[in-house]
Amino acid sequence: MKISCQVDVRHLTRVEGHGNIKISIVDGLVKEASWEVVETPRFFEAMLVGKLYENAPYICGRICGICSIGHTLASIRTIENAFGFRPSGQTDRLRLLLKHMETLQSHILHIYFLAAPDYLGVGSVLPLTKSHPEVVQQALRLKQLANDLCDEVGGRRLHPTRTVVGGFTMLPDRHTLGRMRQRLQASLADLAAGAALFAGFTIPDFQRETEFVSLHQEGAYPFIGGDLRSSDGVCKKEHEYLAMTNEYMADYSTSKLSRLSRQSFAVGALARVNNNFHSLHPAARAVAEELGLTPLSHNPYMNNVAQLVECVHVVQESISLIDELLAVPWQEARQVVEPRAGIGVGAVEVPRGILYHCLEFDGQGRICKADCVIPTSQNHANIHHDIKALAGECAARGTADQEIELLAEMLVRAYDPCISCSVH
């Protein structure tokens, strides 16, 4: 099949941040296929130098407007690890509950507002308010539930206010938590409708063998802390994160890039589901199987399905967390933390994949050195190589120009890239 095609998407829409897709096929041969990151860097690692430790979670949360809770929690974990502090069980549960609701909020936003319009043949969620009002209402209900619970636990859905080193500045209202539990229970019906909607979508059939990296915890689906695992068999401790990330620069990206056993690897919902399938809540596993997602899936478009599966998992686990929290009286919201010199690393699974923060402190708790490795920066190289493979397949098949462009856009969106976050 002899075809020629030029795809030049400048500032791809319906993703967070700025990136370009370029594909050039001439006489059936791929001349160029790339994913370029053109976001402006903000230099967070430099901003932190010389600041007292309490600044880090507050400032780092502002790396990202979508996963600010994840960044805040990663920063807090980093500091607590550096100072040799272990939070209380109550704090651990509240943080995980907050984390889960960020995952739900972010996944729902992505699935319904950013990804679904492609599958339903429209340019944004706005026409869906007329053509699929019930779907939009389900999405808004789920998003509102997640955000309301984030407000209740973290003080604010975006750039949380109550999350501090040592615990929380104040605790949620117990009656409100009880009501939230009811809403979580009720939301399972909306998620089931979401699964039914997805069952009707035709997920593009594209496979590229990929290494998947995620956290690993014994007997639990991991979100905060744990070992670092790859599907190619690499296993490291949290503080050895640099051995997993291997950052480098390339001229097509203002974001740093990563590699491990191959030329690139993937993190995110699909990586987590692939690596931890058997730790998923049974109800979430059932949805995965129903939608044809079983490990190892090498189809990046399946990341959207993995996100939906995780929504079911976090809702189920949040119900249990609230039960555990309400079973005992509140203890102190916050414990005293003494700063000391040292280095800490915190690894947290945020919606788009594994996030690492590393901070080095002097004896007064001032930051000497900071490093943040963002999930999307770990994914960029994989997206880039996926685009190349996709372009090759399309050239071989003689796919129409417009379809190539749409497939490439959908491929990038499937990763739910958080580009401004990746460049930070």
């Binding site: 402006t40 860097p41 690692e45 309490e54 706005l126 003080g155 976050c421």
Partner: protein
């Protein structure tokens, strides 16, 4: 022939007067895009809010784009020459430019790198020897004329809804002149100074309903100074409560709204050590 939506717009009135549905656009420069995300929050009233205006350009949420807009909301600060160019084009296209959030109004957290006065060091600290271009982070008003500012990191959706409604109806937009302390007292919160926590509530412009102090987090001044701010009194309180001036500086320095005060205090503290 007119389509159904057009008919509906023509029928919309407020106090008997026809209400237009202005075309608006959303843009972002160096930022976390959180302020734009806030626009998708308050889900219960979201569809009504979206119906107030005609969104013609919103890259984060929609594929369609147009350069014909009346009001442009711009999030983020300026840190590169290509951003300056984009911003000037937006200014040329729009009748009204609104700075959305602290990065656009004051530089926001992005301007924290400016305090080193050494961009080469900043770039090397993050990228090593890899050459990457960056300027000092600046607010929009350093590059173009800004018609209206919406403060906050993040912006508060209720405030954005109120301001957008006023813009659509042609009503003037006023920001409170008093500081957050007033709102905090009205909410009967425990004063955070009494808990040993630094707080910029006494000097920061109100309008967020004491968002952070009501969650027992001292104010970090993301909305910038209130016109009636008494900086000397704030310093007296901090000293009286035996809170270190370094912690006061961290907050004054964080978002750029208090850049002058922060600069003077930093020089004083560095001169002392």
């Amino acid at each position: 022939m007119r389509d159904e939506t057009k008919m509906k717009d023509d029928e919309r009135t407020y106090l008997g007067v026809a209400v237009p549905r202005p075309p608006v656009a959303f843009f972002e420069l160096s930022s976390c895009e959180g302020c734009q995300l806030q626009l998708f929050n308050n889900e219960a009233g979201l569809l009504d809010f979206l119906d107030l205006v005609e969104i013609v350009n919103f890259r984060e949420a929609m594929t369609e784009k147009s350069d014909h807009y009346q009001i442009a909301f711009v999030e983020g600060s300026v840190t590169r020459t290509d951003e300056e160019e984009r911003l000037r084009t937006i200014r040329d296209n729009a009748e009204l430019v609104v700075a959305l959030g602290s990065c656009a109004c004051f530089g926001g957290v992005n301007q924290l790198k400016n305090r080193f006065n050494d961009l080469d060091w900043v770039v090397r600290e993050v990228y090593g020897d890899y050459a990457i271009s960056s300027q000092a982070a600046r607010p929009l008003a350093d590059v173009i004329r800004v018609d209206l500012e919406i403060f906050g990191c993040p912006v508060k959706k209720e405030e954005v809804e109120r301001i957008v409604t006023n813009l659509v109806l042609g009503k003037p937009v006023h920001h409170p002149q008093y500081p957050i302390c007033m709102e905090c007292k009205a909410r009967e919160n425990v004063c955070l100074f009494d808990l040993g926590e630094p707080c910029l509530g006494p000097v920061t412009r109100a309008g967020c309903d004491a968002w952070c102090p009501s969650n027992r987090l001292g104010c970090w001044g993301c909305r910038g100074p209130a016109p009636a701010a008494n900086m000397a009194e704030l310093r007296d309180i901090v000293v009286r409560k035996q809170i270190s001036l370094e912690r006061l500086l961290d907050r004054l320095e964080c978002f750029g709204g208090f850049a002058d005060e922060a600069h003077i205090l930093r020089q004083e503290l560095e001169g002392r050590s």
